[in-house]
Amino acid sequence: MTDGMIDVMAGDVRFRRRLEAYAEFRLSPDLATTSRMRARVLAHAHRHADLERADAALTIVQPGAGTSGDVTRSPRAVRRTALSLMAAATLLVSVAGVAAAASGPGGALYEARLFVEEVTLPTDPSERAIAELDRLAQRLAEADAAARAGDHVAAAAALAAYERIMAEASSEVLAANDPVAAAAFETGIGRNVEVLQALIAHVPAQAAAAITRAVERAIERSATAIDRVHDVPKPTPAAGGANNGGSGTGGSAGGAATPKPTKEPAERPEPTAKPTKQPAERPEATPRTPNEPAGQPEPTPRPARTPRPTPDAPQGGGPPSHQPD
């Protein structure tokens, strides 16, 4: 028997085709099977890579490891390290669980949690504004959960945190003078006001007074923040700028507004009557006409404010899309 004979026999067309067909139809994984296998193997690969990196970090930390010249680590040592890491991770998860329980509104670690959130905020103004809105939404969710549970202490803590974060965030947005950040922030706070108004309706009777006061105060602060941020130039479409925003014209919201206990956001697109608190008139909600000179007195003067374009001034001074209110 020679290799040539084997090759001739194996080269038999019919035999080869039958084996090919068998492999194709009987021995091939379907797409779902392949996907499952790939996902599991790659998940293992990623975990393995993480362990390798952690192991490498530990190797660097141990100063005496390289002194004997035996740099390579035995599989047993690697396994020991991996087990240590897993034990540490388990401990960390346990501690994190306990910490999470204490970090709820009014809890001992709540302020620490807020601090951690704050220091991990992004630096880009628009990203930071969106991250702050996320934080505010979390505070509202906490307040809502606490209010539904009748825990007025937790609700008050969450709402107090909401007010503080909003004050800081609005100051940051004003200081950054970033139109995207301002637009996002103003819109987000407008939504928050609606959430807060809805929250009052869900407050249980036994804690109604305390929580309602806190919510009203949060609405008031939200409206103030919207007022402050409102005058930052926004990236609005060039056409139809006079009607953009609605409340800024004073025709819909400002003109129809009557003295109300609390404020409603200036940018609300539907300034129809609400079952709850309605906005008070805002000083800047007075209509501005193209002939109106720039520099209308504002309720909260800001040093970094971009001057509004006037009919006499060239339009290139501000953002191209900005239109006078």
């Binding site: 194996a10 038999d12 084996l19 492999a23 099977t33 293992h44």
Partner: protein
């Protein structure tokens, strides 16, 4: 996916230092022949799936100890696959006998399968099941795994000539069982290249 030996070695080096993406490419390149080899050696498709997954996980963990000293990565991977299959058969007493092959053959008959004559596929399964364990191993490595005779010899821990002998006897037995007339032999194809075409 087509990768040459240089690209595979580079991916292996990257995977050794914890590059999961590189290992994913290696999986993409080898999973089909490995799966086919395993599926031809075990009873259930679910076992083939589990074992294929296990082979790659073992490969990942053993990768730091892998050294390409005469053994290409593919051969090394198939050696892992063969060991997994042997362990599986030994511990679960799961081997592909004639009855099991028929059951195996009877599953999942789709419309495509009907068009290529399901009965012919059943006959191939039965012919494979009638081989000795070593003959079936050699055929599976050569034709479904796509290995050369030399690579199959490395995987099975035998001489290359021994593998060719096993292959010769296996093919002859299968041809008899499949009633394939030798007069249809073309004689122009190379066995190794045929094996690769089926496997890949």
């Amino acid at each position: 996916m087509t990768l040459d030996e240089t690209a595979i070695e580079r991916l292996v080096q990257e995977a050794r230092v914890g590059d999961a993406w590189a290992f994913g490419l290696l999986f993409d390149h080898y999973h089909l022949p490995v799966y086919r080899y395993i599926a031809s050696r075990v009873h259930r498709p679910s076992d083939a799936e589990d074992l294929t997954q296990l082979v790659f996980v073992k490969a990942l963990e053993a990768l730091p100890r892998y050294e390409a000293r005469g053994i290409p990565f593919g051969g090394w991977l198939f050696r892992l696959a063969r060991n997994c299959v042997i362990d599986h058969v030994r511990t679960r007493h799961d081997h592909l006998d004639l009855e099991a092959a028929t059951q195996h053959a009877g599953r999942d008959a789709g419309p495509d399968e009907v068009t290529v004559h399901r009965q012919e596929l059943d006959e191939v399964a039965a012919a494979l099941a009638a081989l000795t364990d070593e003959q079936r191993d050699a055929i599976a490595l050569r034709f479904f795994g796509g290995l050369s005779a030399r690579e199959a010899a490395v995987v099975m821990g035998k001489q290359e000539g021994t593998i060719r002998g096993l292959q010769f006897r296996a093919i002859a037995a299968m041809r008899r069982q499949l009633r394939i007339d030798e007069s249809t032999t073309t004689g122009g194809d190379d066995a190794a290249s045929d094996g690769r075409r089926v496997g890949r």
